[in-house]
Symmetry: D3
């Protein structure tokens, strides 16, 4: 019933924990995750701009801060579930879409509905901004796994999460971004003192993706 309700629903995302059910030394909520994604995306957009690209900043802003709003309805479904099968992934995407549609129609005043439909749709498209969102979202998964491995979390799931995020990051079609990540960020990351041997895990992936 109005924007007041939309605003108070943002608070719900502070209570949705990422990767629920797994033992973690530190938990992250979806609101804080969204902010970190908007930070990473801003940095890499700047870098792409410095390399000649034209960034639609409004679009990037919209995409990053809204990309997980739908979790307000459905929570953070465990990634293995989401990817159990392409059919299942599609089913869940469909559910989210329907819940969002219902929310916008019931809660958002008519004059803002078109804007909300536009903003809340899946943002990871083939535009530069869609790719930056995809990169930034995956980067936060990379950093969440990195921090657990660094502190000694021995659960295999974080090894898989680290490697899978790394592989995907290296394959996203954003040349300047991926170069900088590979040559600067990763180089610094693997020099940290860590419990789990992150350097070895990383080299393995780097060799595979050359």
């Amino acid at each position: 019933m109005g924007i007041h309700h939309f605003f108070t629903s943002l608070n719900d995302l502070e209570r949705i924990i990422r990767c629920p059910g797994r033992f973690k030394f530190e938990e992250h909520n979806v609101a804080a995750h969204s902010w970190k994604v908007s930070q990473y995306a801003m940095f890499f957009a700047t870098l792409e701009e410095m390399n000649g690209a034209t960034v639609n900043w409004k679009s990037l802003y919209e995409k990053t801060i809204n990309h997980d709003f739908a979790e307000v309805f459905i929570g953070d479904i465990k990634t293995p579930v989401k990817h159990a099968s392409p059919e299942l992934k599609q089913m869940l995407a469909h559910v989210e879409e329907k819940m969002m549609e219902k929310f916008i129609i019931n809660e958002i005043p008519e004059k803002f509905q078109a804007i909300f439909f536009e903003r809340m749709k899946e943002g990871k498209d083939a535009t530069l901004e869609g790719r930056l969102l995809e990169f930034a979202d995956k980067l936060d998964q990379f950093y969440e796994a990195f921090a657990e491995l660094k502190r000694g979390n021995i659960d295999q799931e974080f090894v898989y999460m680290y490697q899978s995020a790394l592989k995907k990051l290296l394959g996203i079609p954003l040349e300047a971004t991926v170069d900088y990540f590979r040559n600067e960020i990763l180089k610094d990351a693997v020099q940290e003192d860590t419990h789990i041997d992150i350097q070895a895990l990383t080299k393995e992936i780097l060799n595979d993706t050359k």
Copy 2:
């Protein structure tokens, strides 16, 4: 990889929070919930037995402690999502089933697989034990909402949860159980000193379901 893996996965349910995303004065995990359900079910099974029913205690034990094990795969999906549409509810049930199947085949030694398939299937069937499970599961939702309302949680969702649980409890075909709940449990419950007027909420439902 064997029963060791099954045993360690039980620990995951201590990290799945019920009703994620909502503000609550007290959170409950799925492991503790399962234990409370097995307690309520034992009481009402005893009562039914005193009233002439024959209880299959092994079946009741299996049904109550296993009824939410599948949340280890998918988490505690928000109830409004689960019930957004019958189609969606079915989809999600299907997903859970597939995940469970995969788990049993991959993790459980062959000689126990048939037993696990039997135990992990949906327990809320038309048997006495299936109904007792349904009653006990709903009763925990009733008590979770009751405790929030008593302590003054003003979120409307807990009013709906309380009323919806109450309505369903009164309609489950277990005569001795429902009578006892209506005449003894509820009578004591509404006499408690509470922030939200639980007595009024309860009377409304009782009048509707006479």
Copy 3:
């Protein structure tokens, strides 16, 4: 030591709790707060645009997500301290500035330093975007106090925080924004069922600021 270090420092803001030392039913971290501020600001910027203003979306994005980054150095100093005296407020601002300067020079690669100096400076200036940041930041304080009062937090500090935030919101020179807040958001807010009488607190302020 590079952007990797900047990225990992973002995680620190998930551990800085707002309004430390006070009893609250729910705590908020600075990362999640920053995200909510970026959401409010986007909505009101859209509204201003619909009313004829020209929004610099890149600037708004930069201002909102970075406005509390300096807390990574100094934590969330209690507001009464910050405002104990104009001299003290200035001293603390000076400290933050010095810490930020040191951070940028030591950690950020040279080719990004100018950009970081620009982005990390105080964002609440007289531009449209500066005002939108100020409005959005204050609105989150309004909502934090609102939620505590609604749930029955009887600490007087939240009454003062609510009233002081409300007063400031109504005085920010953003015509369309303040009108919408007064006529739509506040109207919905005071109709909620709350423990503390928020309607009375609000009317008092509204009468004073007509």
Copy 4:
């Protein structure tokens, strides 16, 4: 005053933390512990049945879910205290018994009192079900210590707890259960990648108990 009070007291066990005062990476409450015990017991009862034993499932169900209910009165007393002397252990058992007696007489309706007295008495007797309870309860202590050691908790108490639990498990007179534990569960457990060298700790005990 009635079953309503009994039901709401179950919630208290969600707030009793096991092994209070010790640093742990993850805490466990008594309600969740009781559920895990009922899971382990069901598995080993099934195994014993497959090996020709006759299981009284009702008794096993009663014993497992009720075995720590008395902690609602007295909390989780630290194990070293409980076992400081046989005299002290007896005193504390006596206290629990008295508190339970008082609770049943004051709170449980007369027609259920005999049943509650039966169910709430010490369950670790010489029956098959009593032994299964003892095994399952000890197994949860084994797994709690295992998880802390695996994650790198360097507190010596968890080494003692692990070794003491292991020793006791291997000595409980349940042939099929102990064989399966030794040959299947333990074999898988020591193959996990762990911070503390659990394999060495385990071998030492296994050699002593051959």
Copy 5:
């Protein structure tokens, strides 16, 4: 084995929660409680001194900071258990004493043992300092209950705790202290805005103890 071990054991008291098992809006650990007790005691000792008493400050310091150290062995046993019977209370006191004796003999270097025996013995004796300790310890219980009632905790236990603490405070033979508490502290306390009607609860006790 030595003072290092004694010092690290202090940390354990930060993990012992007072009044375990009860629902509270805010939990308190025994370390923080001990500090608050030492603060209250200092104030009232000052007051007694202003009224002509002679305070042994060293003794008061020793008594207040050490009065709950024994909980490091046994945890915070629920008060109703402690007072279930005089016999039980005595048994538990005996247990604590034995555990403490064992600790001092095993861990404390010989030249400090006599001092530790003196400091760690029950401090609530008939001296001025013993009475100040008793008053200060009870006052913290009063304030813990007060805070829960103020915030709307509707659990009857906190009403009993508040009234029982108040009654005992008013009866402790410390004239200046009790007068100040009755005429200044209580007067301010009951003027606070509270959810539960603390003023009425207080008047009832005050009338009974005139």
Copy 6:
């Protein structure tokens, strides 16, 4: 408004977390810290007394329990901020002093004001008691860092904190205390089994400070 207000403000220090923003396996609040400091100080004062010094116990008691009360106004400012520059450190000390002055004048009854001004002033002076406070306060930082390193916290900040605390402890002009710390406490500490090699870190400092 009186001593009641002073007493309830003590509770605020239970919510001020030390070293905010850093990842820690275990957090400590300022109230519990103050208690540990008063324990360490009592031990070393006893030792100094055994070595011929005369201890003013009242002063030591006052200094230890009050030394961080001012954090009730300003929170636990991150140490690197406090020491960013001598000028900044002085500014912050000035702020705390002003806030304390205001608090005493507004809240403490006139007849106690002089006493509070005396007790709440900076306690780390050149007296024996001032030095014992400084030693004890630094020792708690030493133990906080020690515990994190022991459990495997790989954040460099805790290495610096450990080494810096150690260096300062060894340089405080308290002969018997520093000797005992160096020869007994440290010797036991470095023999513990730890994740990070504390022995090496310690030797390095010991060699430098011989």
